[in-house]
């Protein structure tokens, strides 16, 4: 059920400002691809172009192609809503819906998209919460508000919410940056399990995290201040962290720059 993504010649704008320029890469199915690079280099922007969330920002527009298996996400006639159902997203800050209970949060994606039987929903909620390693902690209080959980639990709730709609690809935008090391570890373990089923793309500022969880790593950088962000290189994580082919990558990873 996981799908591969091929990006070619992708350029994204905020109004007249060009945020990222001419990015091409392939993202393998059933693997974890990590994006690293300094702040403001367009990692998150690029991630958001992969499920057409970029255009939600006022003035956001995209040129180029993003192929999901053999379908272009930006072809005319493609409904961004169905793209987002196929490619889920987890954000930097945990953002459970404050008016909904834990159960309703997980069921939100399904409920808001159509009507389901209670028993079906029960199954999906249990499966998703188990998938997000949260079931044991919340199974006795599914009807309590989701915002009452701790930060790490909330983020796993958001992951459960994202996988409940059974996407093919899961995009994660710095999912651990607001969390403590123990919650981070829980989520990293989870990513390791999830890659069995999903294609996972993760943006992170944490080098060790990229090295720990990802199979492939892409390094983004700005040519200069005010210039659009570019993809410097993408390769197997092991190679990027031991013997990258571009000097800038090595400088960044070893902390000599950025």
């Amino acid at each position: 059920m996981a799908k591969r993504i091929d990006v070619s010649g992708l350029t994204a704008y905020y109004g007249s400002h060009k945020a990222i320029e001419d990015i091409s890469m392939s993202i393998e199915p059933r693997s974890v691809t990590a994006f690293i690079g300094p702040s403001g280099c367009g990692k998150s922007t690029f991630l958001r172009t992969l499920n057409r969330m970029h255009e939600v920002t006022p003035g956001g527009r995209v040129e180029g192609k993003v192929m999901l298996d053999n379908e272009d996400l930006y072809a005319s006639g493609v409904d961004p809503v169905s793209v987002r159902r196929t490619i889920g997203m987890v954000f930097q800050r945990p953002n459970p819906f404050p008016t909904m209970s834990i159960y309703d949060n997980v069921a939100a994606g399904l409920r808001l998209n159509g009507s389901y039987k209670k028993s079906e929903l029960d199954d999906v909620v249990e499966k998703s919460l188990k998938g997000a390693n949260l079931w044991n902690e919340v199974k006795d209080r599914l009807n309590r508000p989701g915002s009452g959980l701790s930060g790490g639990q909330q983020q796993r709730l958001c992951i459960a919410r994202a996988i409940a709609v059974e996407p093919k690809v899961l995009l994660m935008d710095e999912p651990c940056s607001a969390l403590d090391p123990i919650s981070t570890l829980a989520i990293e373990d989870l990513i390791g399990e999830l890659k069995e089923q999903f294609t996972i793309v993760i943006v992170t500022h944490n080098m060790q995290q990229a090295a720990r969880v990802s199979d492939r790593t892409a390094f983004f950088n700005l040519a200069a201040i005010g210039q659009p962000g570019k993809l410097v290189e993408i390769d197997d994580t092991e190679r990027i962290f031991s013997n990258p082919s571009v000097q800038a990558t090595e400088d960044y990873i070893s902390g000599r720059f950025g």
């Binding site: 169905s82 793209v83 987002r84 953002n95 808001l112 508000p145 009452g148 919410r161």
Partner: protein, 353 residues
């Protein structure tokens, strides 16, 4: 780089400084009150307001001087601002409290079940008796209809402005909403009078009044709803969109429920605002002594109109009725507000574990 100069070295090199005792503000307040009364009596000032102002002024000055002497400049400034805040608070609260007190004391005189359940039909204005049943019905129906017209339009306008509106149209709408906020109620009344009653030749009715009230209510609803929708974090919208939920469902199921508490409060405040309007009622509903349950035909009364009418009669029995009606009107608005707060609290995003 210049070194920062410490202008006021700590005396004796310790962190401890002389402080006024904790009872100082209260003691000074009592003293100020005494001074106010004393000067007032001595100078034979007739106005009690002057006594109060003298006391307030004395309190502010005395606190500042005392604090400067004992505690130093910075604390004196702190005390000065604190006492200013307290005095302003009292100046604001005293009229409100006295208004409510006055209305209650004078209003309860004739307020009873009979008063609430009978109209003024056939009652001679000079004599006690009669009631406000017809006015209550009028107010409830007119305000209800106005809310039915204004709340949905205002809500949808606000949703447009916050969720969809970009560019010129949104700016124009915002501008006209601002202009509408400033429309005097009598002008709204005249507009409906010239359009609905003179041009289209409908008669006086509660509905005509409700339309004028709706004009007054709409901008308030738009403004408050807009503010509430802006408070909804963008992350929630993005979370919902990223789940593949269409925009309209995101607004309906995520944005609105998150803001519903504030929106309800806003609508209720708008209701409270129009419930006290008398000018459009005077022009469009005409006023009546009898019960008329049909808001779409014939003259009705309303509580503000009733108060005006009874006061204009100019005799003791009518004054009593006017005060009682005023009390009922205040209670009506207050109950609505309490209900709104209840709804807001019940619907507000929950945080408990």
């Amino acid at each position: 780089m210049e070194k920062p100069v410490i202008t006021t070295p700590l005396p004796g090199g310790t962190l401890k400084q002389p402080r006024l005792p904790r009872w100082a503000p209260a003691g000074l307040a009592v003293l100020s009150a005494a001074v106010g009364v004393g000067i007032g009596l001595a100078a034979d000032l007739a106005s009690r307001v002057q006594w109060g102002l003298i006391a307030a002024l004395f309190y502010i000055v005395a606190t500042h001087v005392l604090a400067t002497v004992v505690e130093g400049k910075r604390q004196a400034k702190d005390r000065l601002v604190t006492s200013l805040v307290w005095v302003s608070f009292l100046v604001a609260v005293i009229p409100l409290a006295s208004l409510i007190w006055e209305t209650i004391v004078r209003g309860v005189k004739v307020l009873d079940v009979y008063f609430l359940t009978h109209s003024m039909n056939g009652v001679i204005t000079l004599q006690p008796g009669g009631g406000i049943y017809h006015a209550i019905i009028g107010t409830v129906e007119q305000v209800g209809l106005a809310t039915l017209i204004a709340a949905p339009i205002g809500l949808l306008t606000a949703i447009y402005l916050v969720e969809y509106g970009t560019g010129r149209l949104a700016k124009a709408v915002t501008f006209f909403v601002d202009v509408m906020t400033g429309i005097p109620s009598i002008v709204a009344g005249l507009f409906i009078l010239s359009f609905w009653i003179i041009v289209l030749d409908f008669g006086y009715s509660g509905f005509a009044g409700a339309m004028a009230l709706a004009i007054l209510m709409m901008p308030i609803v738009v403004r408050s709803t807009e503010e509430m929708l802006k408070l909804v974090p963008n992350e929630l919208r993005e979370a919902s969109l990223a789940l593949g939920v269409p925009k309209w469902r995101t607004i309906l199921k995520v944005v609105l429920p998150t803001a519903i508490g504030g929106i309800t409060t806003g609508v209720m405040l708008a209701v409270a605002r129009i419930a006290g309007e008398s000018a459009p009622i005077l022009l469009l509903v005409f006023g009546s002594q009898a019960i008329n349950g049909n808001p779409f035909e014939g003259a009705q009364s309303s509580l503000p109109y009733y108060i005006y009418e009874q006061w204009a009669n100019g005799n003791e029995a009518s004054y009593d009725r006017a005060w009682a009606a005023a009390l009922v009107l205040i209670a009506f608005v207050m109950i609505l507000n309490l209900v709104a707060r209840g709804i807001a609290r019940w619907k507000a995003p929950k945080t408990g574990r």
